[in-house]
Symmetry: C2
Subunit: 427 residues, 2 copies
């Protein structure tokens, strides 16, 4: 990935970052880079995720999925980082003739029932993903899926891939039934796991080129240096941080590629769960160009000056010419194609924000392919880790979700009632 942060400078935007502030910040980037390099060298918790381009074992992933034939559908049962990485790869990279991919990443009974009713479970591979083997939503859904298979006369042990840690419920289950399985690596939090078995296994089942994905990520890893002016990932992370502390508390991720809509959701988890701590952290917002020009742009251009808009643009797009027409007022579409129209919309939107003094950053990809996506995903992870160092937060933990998990268990056990602090009902 390449990055242009020109439209985030204070010459253009307010809030904006002065060039000399970036130069001062670069000294902290150098220190942070050293910390990151040390963490990677020691395979420390979290930092280990930035070693995945080297440590992932694509051959083992391919071997684990090899037993499954006649695959019509890949059903990932997981939640949060256990599903979003896989979904991101699938949306961006799966061919039209690849097996369909679905996700049980919620426990909505209506949705689960409807989805399972619509699948041919005898031609479905279920990838059940939980490092601990105790994630309530995932295990509940897996039990429902197993029962649905039994009801259709499908042997679930023939159609299940287990993605879990070294020990626990799911590891025991895999061993008991001799199920194909892959190991969730140590030291890799869920939101940083897309380049591990968690993302790679369902990608391989869909025929995605996981070697190219890892090669693109490895190239980004090799490019990390001690200066934001030489490292696109750090340029992005440092600029987002510098804008946030100057008032841009919202980061709208707006790719101009339909296939990156799920990437924006993946980014939102990465950013929110890693940096949302100690009263700090930029709020990620998912958007999609050009669609959200007709939805969110009014707010971005004329609302509060609290936003960074991050564009992701793709250089190389397929040709889909716009047919000629005699419809009035559309002469400017003559001799163009959809990609040119999309690119013009992007350029106009970027210019529109700059013209009104709203900061934006442009991230550029050569194409929407496995190599470029590997670079983008790795780059955003590195950007996030850098930002965490600059904020001085614990990037790799998520303590604020634990209270709610325990409360949910208590409620189900009948040990806690709805603990409303106050009620003011209007009916």
């Amino acid at each position: 990935m390449r990055v242009d942060i020109g439209n985030a400078l204070d010459e253009v935007a307010s809030p904006g970052v002065p060039r000399d502030a970036l130069e001062r910040l670069d000294e902290r980037v150098a220190d942070a880079h050293e910390r990151i390099a040390r963490g990677r060298a020691d395979d420390e918790f979290g930092y280990a995720a930035l070693n995945l381009p080297e440590t992932a074992d694509p051959d083992a992933v391919r071997a684990a999925v090899e037993p499954f034939d006649d695959v019509e559908t890949v059903l990932t049962v997981g939640i949060g980082g256990s599903a979003l990485g896989a979904a991101t790869l699938s949306s961006a990279l799966a061919d039209a003739d690849a097996p369909d991919a679905y996700y049980l990443d919620n426990v909505d009974p209506d949705h689960v029932r409807t989805l399972l009713d619509g699948l041919d479970l005898s031609r479905t591979v279920v990838d059940v993903v939980s490092r601990s083997g105790t994630t309530a939503e995932t295990l509940a859904n897996f039990l429902v899926v197993r029962e649905a298979m039994a009801e259709e006369g499908v042997d679930w042990t023939e159609r299940t891939l287990v993605t879990t840690g070294e020990s626990g419920n799911l590891r025991d289950l895999a061993e008991k039934h001799d199920l194909p399985s892959v190991r969730v690596p140590e030291g890799v939090p869920g939101r940083f796991s897309v380049l591990s078995t968690v993302g790679l296994a369902p990608a391989a089942l869909q025929g995605i080129d996981i070697d190219a994905l890892l090669a693109g990520a490895a190239e980004a890893a090799d490019g990390l240096s001690g200066s934001l002016f030489e490292t696109p990932a750090y340029a992005y992370g440092a600029t987002a941080y510098a804008l946030d502390i100057r008032g841009a508390g919202v980061n709208a991720m707006m790719p101009y590629a339909e296939g990156l809509e799920t990437f924006a959701e993946w980014f939102a988890q990465l950013w929110a769960e890693s940096l949302g701590k100690d009263g700090l952290g930029q709020t990620p917002v998912r958007a999609l160009g050009a669609t959200d020009q007709h939805s969110q742009l009014q707010l971005y251009r004329a609302g509060p000056r609290d936003k960074l808009v991050t564009f992701v643009d793709v250089d190389d797009r397929p040709d889909v010419p716009i047919p000629e027409t005699d419809l009035e007022g559309l002469d400017y579409l003559a001799d163009t194609d959809l990609g040119e129209l999309l690119d013009a919309e992007f350029r106009a939107t970027e210019a529109s924000l700059a013209e009104s003094g709203r900061p934006s950053v442009r991230v550029e990809l050569d194409a929407l392919d496995a190599h470029s996506l590997g670079g983008l995903l790795y780059g955003m992870e590195a950007a996030c880790v850098l930002a965490g160092e600059l904020y001085e937060v614990e990037t790799f933990t998520q303590p604020a979700v634990e209270w709610g998990k325990e409360a949910a268990r208590d409620i189900l056990r009948g040990e806690r009632d709805r603990s409303e602090k106050a009620t003011l009902r209007v009916e």
Copy 2:
């Protein structure tokens, strides 16, 4: 819909609204309600949208879609409000055996080509939606669809429904080819058009009960009164406004129902494009319970105190029991079902935010059905119009998107180059 704003009070949360501030605000709500009632009585631009439960003509919609038989797919070609309302109704209400619904609401050539290649166009109904008949993205996509039909030997005039205003390109086209068509009503901005022909026609093609939808909306319309303490929609709009001006500049819409995921996107357009003006407006964020507990909750609970979380809870859900298991640590799931688990997750998350003093509002629906959804959509529109009155902005216009539209045309005509204000590239 019913609303509980207790957890948004300053007794619970910071920022929070004091009860006496709400009472003072209620005087402004009374004035705003009078303004709204006057606008409705005069069918003024925008306010007219709040009359749709009465003025929409479901029989005309049914008559327009009646000619189409053998419908496997409904393809809506429209962008922004011309697609989001239809998609919201479809996601929430379409039966599993209804025709599939797809949307061309972007001009990504990759996506358009892949989607069209996958459809049987001879069994597809295309609903082309543009009030003006000049929306660049929509018309370009429609031209591409027409050509794809021609290439497959499908007569596009047999498979096209036109949804447009009284005059213009598409109206001329409909008349020339004698196409089934419905009229986009006057005075209804796109983001307020879900209860008009724009939302109702594709819904009718999917067999959705549009009478029940309008009846639910009519009930909400009848319930509008001059006090926020008696009107759920106003309670919501006034609370969101009161929290925003106290520092909650972000509004995370988090339904606990997979079928309402698109509703959150619809809400985001409604809120952003209506209120994002004059440097004001709350930034809508789309979330989904329980999924986003594993993604966004860390930020909501421990990040900056700049958020209102809006929950939408559904009382009545289908039964999907969780099968018994001997897996360790999952005893608390015994004798429960997915709906109970989802509800426990919701209650725990709501309590978790209250416990950490973060404001939330609960919106409750009896069930995820057409009647309740009609009430929810109408209620949120009324909440938004009320909030616009309180902010004193022009709720029904979107001036900030016009500059970009002209710039895109200029770029395509070669009359404008990429107007970067500044460049700072990192590669």
